[in-house]
Symmetry: C2
Subunit: 408 residues, 2 copies
């Protein structure tokens, strides 16, 4: 955790415990720092699991293994290493992960394939197997810890711990979701890695949990960007212990499935926003709502083109209502758009319509909006019904300072 | 032109005059600055023209018109306005361009469609027709100017004037190419616009000139990136007056066609490199050579993924041999790649091979290379024969200062 806290930070929420989920932490000493860096979460027998992973083809062994493990839908434990991403480390890196899986499986009396491992930190240094072994042993022997402690322990250069919760009424039971995430702070040579873990006491079929998680990820984690760089280790896992006692959710026909899906999506969205709020150097939280595209996917791609544009992000950092840069970013997205139908608004103020500046445009209210810390940009493409909202942060000297001024 | 000159600047070369090409400049006063900002180049009758234009769908009227004009293959004049991009200005913007075309055509006694217009600068403000009219009249009456004056006049926030030249022996004649370009400096709310103009006395069929220019652009202008943002106005035009007296080059079967193609490509590459050397805030010129991809196109896309990665660009700015970020950028390119075959080198020093750090890797020579101002990164994908080189600059505090610290 960094000393300087993001100006967009929010307090850690009061996360309810989840029956069947026991987090513990320990010091493996992956880096020369005086804090816990290994998290081990024990999960009750019968816990269902689903996951979404980075699309980066140079992914870590953890991601490769996790992607295969999640297909069986069962989990008994999660181990998260902070300080070493163990990516691009070849066979030695993979062996280190398999050793952790075997060690935890022996302790819990489960299959190694039920133990999920994530790692985050420096790339290209194999995870030290001895430190991992001692760290895991120490975590397994430790007393349970709080969610906040776990959220701090999975962090690398995050500036604040991040969690989210929601409940849903499923049949006649209340099910609870508690989730933690890390991501978006970084100090060279570490990667900006997003690792998110969602725990619920709901009983739900693994295949349906996967379906809901993938859908929620498309509208949350896949709609945020800090700097357009995709980590080799990004992972979001959802674990469902089934301890709430609800009739198992099998599909959208099951009672309460809609409520659970909405709660899961709300949690994912909150987690995604927390990552943006801790974006490197971020001083402004930016929501870009695209409407009128030819499809929802097209709207998302246009939104991400704007959200990834360094010229748009620096303009917002400079509190400059430079909508010409938004026109440029829409036009370069490679998606259907018609310059002469485009409309753009900052906050509640239209600045351009039908491909021209709005007549009698008054920059006053726009300038006032841009001085706030939460910025809204609305873009109407004028072609169809497709819509999407994406979130990003501004691009500031802080980003350069974090990523360039430090020598590894 | 900016007061602070890029540390990567090079002196303006001694550009030969091209028979049939007469540049002139004038003050239209598009901005409140005390310098010439309108360039008018008169071209001899029978001049062939070819062009490549931005793919940004929100392009300016100048680009829309130019794209149509170039199909006829004939040009008599070029007018370049600096200080106003006239993009996203609707019908009024288009009328301003058409007025310039008509005014020059009347003076030269040619068709309006033979007059090419480009504009660069602020977006969303229609080009003031009265200033344009007076400026064009004044340029048409002016004495011819030097290439360097023309290169300065088409600039906006460039920090140095840019030109390139080459010759080729075609049949028994020497043909000459002289070219100027502007691009990559910017002050909000201006666009980073690349405008390049290539003049030659060669006699060449317009369709073949277009073929050669498109090919050269794919290997030069389309292989550079400063900040991944694509301007609404990017334009490169090639004009061939035919005054060298060579037998007209019709195809690759014509004598000297290969030599001319090579000279044209050399000029395009030099122009493209000059733009990178004037990239906003640039302190290092970076060449990224990708080999072993499944195709040349795939290699170029991988190279651009690396060249556009803010994490890679900030690492180079920090002189940090953070090859993990290169692995990440290769992996996110969406192109075929195999983590376990990847090899990476900085300068002449391999740092990773077969998906792992090189055994006994010594960072000393890499650190020394990174302290230089020209950086070479070699990436071998290990899958095929595809290759491409792309060029970019580092991402520094200077970029943020130029684009965020200024309020429009």
């Amino acid at each position: 955790m960094s000393d300087t806290i993001s100006p967009l930070a929010v307090p850690f929420p009061d996360l309810p415990a989840i029956a069947g989920v026991t987090p513990r932490i320990a010091r493996a000493g992956y880096k020369d720092w005086g804090r816990c860096d290994l998290t081990c979460v024990e999960l009750a027998q019968g816990t269902a699991v689903a996951g979404v992973f980075t699309k980066n083809v140079c992914c870590s062994s953890e991601v490769e293994l996790g992607r295969a493990q999640v297909k069986a839908g069962r989990a008994r434990a999660l181990v998260v290493n902070a300080g070493n991403a163990n990516a691009f480390t070849g066979r030695r890196g993979r062996a280190a992960v398999e050793a952790i899986m075997a060690q935890v499986a022996a302790h819990l009396g489960c299959a190694a394939s039920e133990v999920f491992v994530s790692s985050t930190g420096v790339i290209g240094v194999p995870l030290p197997a001895d430190k991992a072994r001692a760290g895991v042993a120490s975590a397994l022997a430790a007393a349970p810890c709080s969610w906040q402690d776990a959220a701090r322990t999975i962090s690398t250069t995050d500036t604040f711990p991040k969690g989210a919760t929601a409940t849903a009424i499923v049949g006649e039971r209340t099910v609870t979701i508690s989730a933690i995430i890390k991501g978006s702070g970084m100090i060279a040579p570490d990667m900006a890695t997003m690792l998110g873990y969602i725990f619920t006491d709901a009983a739900i079929a693994p295949a349906f949990l996967q379906q809901l998680l993938s859908h929620a990820a498309d509208r949350s984690f896949h709609c945020i960007t800090v700097d357009s760089d995709t980590s080799t280790s990004d992972t979001v896992l959802a674990f469902a212990t089934g301890k709430a006692g609800n009739a198992r959710i099998e599909s959208f026909d099951s009672p309460g499935a809609d409520a659970f899906a909405a709660a899961l999506e709300a949690v994912c969205l909150q987690l995604a926003h927390l990552v943006v709020r801790d974006g490197e150097g971020a001083r402004k939280f930016i929501a870009i709502a695209v409407t009128g595209a030819v499809s929802d996917d097209s709207a998302r791609r246009i939104g991400l083109s704007v959200a990834n544009s360094p010229l748009v992000k620096t303009a917002i950092a400079g509190e400059d209502a430079n909508w010409g840069r938004i026109v440029m970013a829409v036009g370069k997205a490679g998606e259907p758009a018609d310059r002469d139908r485009l409309a753009i608004a900052f906050g509640d103020t239209p600045v351009a319509r039908d491909g021209e500046p709005v007549a009698g445009y008054d920059e006053g209210p726009v300038a006032a909006h841009l001085r706030e810390s939460e910025i809204r940009i609305a873009i109407d493409i004028g072609l169809g019904e497709g819509r999407a909202t994406v979130w990003t942060c501004d691009l500031t000297h802080g980003y350069i300072a974090i990523n360039a001024d430090y020598r590894s």
